[in-house]
Symmetry: C2
Subunit: 457 residues, 2 copies
């Protein structure tokens, strides 16, 4: 049994009944968080274009596009929902492998799950399996391929989507290994695309390609052999530092899904430690922006490399600006999606506060670390050192906190009654008889979401 | 204007009316050859599985799957036809960039061309544009990414398909540049897949992804910027030796499509020089296998590295065996697709002749070079040195020779009358009013091609 088959055996053998309660809970948290960040992005312009494309193609009504309720093919639903779920950049992450695992995976699972009417417990098993595959392959690849310019999320995500879909389709070990091989030979996605519609498109494409891999494997398609083994050309083209032992290493503490980061703040993960410190200081000392003379933020150099922009033009750029994101967090006492509107970023009080923020790179700081100091005109000063910000696996968001985030994100699309039904359905996912029921709840809508009309040529 | 935009300007500005007759002729040769090798592979098992998948998805009847006449969406037709056209590994090539340019490109053009009912002259322009883009980017990337393990055909082919489709859709320079950026961020395909259904799948996927890139760009999607420029992350992840000047170098002698290799022999291109010598000796001296005591074949070491297998199990392996391919060429006086049947490979006279063949690697030989010596039991011996085998751009197949190859490949699928209509339609492509007419001819069939039936779940 080679490496790829060995990992496939983990996938094919996963059953929700065998999982510890905390592992099931982690899967449900990812699913609920995914629903929130997806429905929060229904009106994203890139998503609209993708809907336009799949609408023009038509196809059997197999699976639904969230929010719109438009039914399309398995693969097209995975494409659009995948792009939707990564459009806000607010989805869950695994910082150890610089990847968002859910955005390219869960859309494939919901597409297949809705079409095949699988019960909720199988969705849990597939989700845990997909995470496991995503993160183990990520650890084996290391980080230098990302640094060179590859976008890890769609590369690892194709494997996660293929593995999760293989589990839902009931593929055996050999077929699952073929699905992983097909995922490997479609792996792509450049960091060059950051800041464009292509970044979320990567997640959608990975969902689609991963699901296609599993469907092809089910029908007896053949592909490259042991893509995860030591002789693998897949590993060789991406990195010189491939470590196949990490494919087979049993994770300490159970399943790797327990290492998920959730984002309580709608900004780049590298701003989270500073935002977390800022919100805590604001809450504890009731800080008024006007009373502040200076703010010092110390973080790891890498965090500032990515978020050094001090003059963001709009809300999207503010999410990737340490100074703007922390300023907004202090002014509003939170850093949810609505805080990063173009209008709010442009307010004079925001600009004034940004001007008072100094940022200092400190060698030796971890990416999850921040020291925040606030000085007031009256001479008082407050400081805080954050090492494990909210949302970090060491300081996790609870299911209820994720439910609050989700309610906030979907309130413009769904009624509060529908939102509660979603929260409670996910909370009791083990008892859900049919995934299609959950998907229908996510498509209820308030009638505001018009599907683009196709003009027949 | 950056590098990507500059190449896009070449694409957007191409008009058949401005092309030299030999360039138009080259485009028509590639198209006719493509039709032949595609229809020759209609029954490939991997193609059947892909048809099954697209059939299960359904969709608007926009474009046709060759041979079957099944109409499906633009994108799905590109996927299946692309896989079909590379299944025999008998399609045209550009050895300077180790790529098959037509298999991943022409399916995208025919899909769009049929759906949009474009005239033949636009197809010529798109084909020339797609070749130009494929090969220029290939030269800029160099060869080390291929040697590392990437499959060049789908990586370069996504650009060719995107560029050709952009030209057919009438995209402007800026939109074409976006299409190329989207192609870059989907670029994938591993050499690990060689020998499996995934190799032709790569071509199909590149056709589909390239076409999707053009369709998205048309609707205003955004993607990575100057992916072909000197700062490009695309180039960086694939190679350390990127040379962007080759993107803009005007080719000597007109267009790069003039450098196409066509395969007169249904075997690995690296066996062609030796096959060519063998067929010439056989024809000139009427050689009988039983009268031969020994054959010496000298070629470049790389050629033997790839084709060193002396005990092929079936026809497919014989195509990648120097000894078997040359033995079959001598026995049959030709090396067309039907010569590489599993049955013929297994015949005792084939095995006996293979045993008489010595192969010698010679440093300094070009890949297109072979020295073939035949010794007879009666003491006579004949020799031949080949430097530019038939099909090489320096010793090109004529349109009529490609027509013969095509007739041979499609005779099991189409009547000879239909075959002649195809040949004459491509010969007069400038005058074709509607691409859909040509596609219909390629779907005529003899009623033998049954589309797999979908069982509704």
């Amino acid at each position: 049994m080679n490496y790829t088959q060995a990992l496939s055996r983990v996938v094919a053998g996963l059953r929700a009944e065998d999982l510890r309660p905390d592992v099931c809970e982690a899967a449900k948290k990812s699913l609920l968080d995914w629903i929130g960040v997806s429905l929060g992005a229904v009106n994203d312009p890139g998503v609209r274009i993708l809907i336009d494309i799949v609408n023009e193609m038509g196809g059997k009504k197999q699976s639904s596009i969230l929010g719109y309720g438009l039914k399309t093919t398995l693969l097209n639903a995975a494409l659009v929902n995948g792009a939707m779920s990564h459009a806000l950049d607010y989805d869950d992450a695994h910082s150890g492998v610089r990847t968002h695992p859910s955005a390219p995976m869960i859309p494939a699972l919901l597409s297949a799950g809705e079409h095949l009417k699988v019960p909720g417990k199988d969705l849990i098993a597939a989700l845990v399996a997909g995470f496991e595959v995503t993160v183990r392959i990520g650890y084996a690849l290391g980080k230098d391929y990302y640094e060179r310019g590859w976008h890890a999320t769609p590369i690892l995500g194709r494997f996660g989507a293929a593995a999760g879909a293989a589990r839902l389709l009931g593929l055996d070990v050999e077929q699952t290994a073929v699905a992983l091989g097909l995922a490997a030979t479609q792996a792509s996605g450049l960091r060059d695309a950051f800041g464009t519609m292509s970044k979320p498109f990567h997640a959608g494409k990975a969902a689609m390609d991963g699901l296609l891999s599993a469907l092809l494997a089910q029908k007896g398609f053949s592909g490259p052999g042991d893509v995860l083994g030591p002789e693998s050309g897949f590993a060789r083209v991406f990195t010189d530092a491939y470590d196949p032992r990490r494919i087979l290493a049993e994770p300490e503490g159970g399943h790797l899904i327990l290492g998920t980061n959730f984002k309580p703040y709608a900004a780049c993960l590298l701003t989270h430690p500073a935002i977390d410190g800022m919100i805590t200081l604001q809450r504890d000392h009731d800080l008024e922006p006007g009373s502040i003379s200076e703010i010092d933020i110390s973080v790891a150099p890498f965090n500032l490399e990515v978020t050094g922009n001090r003059t963001p033009k709009d809300g999207r750029e503010a999410k990737f600006s340490m100074a703007a994101a922390t300023a907004l967090a202090l002014i509003h006492g939170r850093a949810t999606e609505s805080v990063f509107s173009d209008k709010v970023v442009d307010e004079p009080r925001t600009r004034a506060l940004i001007d008072k923020i100094l940022t200092t790179p400190v060698d030796g700081f971890a990416e999850t670390e921040a020291e925040v100091k606030v000085k007031l005109y009256d001479g008082r000063s407050y400081g805080m050192h954050v090492t494990t910000p909210k949302g970090d696996p060491g300081n996790p968001m609870s299911f209820d906190e994720i439910a609050d985030k989700t309610r906030d994100l979907i309130k413009r699309t769904l009624s509060s009654g529908d939102a509660e039904k979603i929260v409670e359905t996910v909370r009791g996912l083990e008892g859900l008889a049919d995934t299609a029921r959950l998907v229908r709840l996510c498509c209820a809508g308030r009638g505001r979401l018009k599907t683009p009309q196709v003009v027949e040529r």
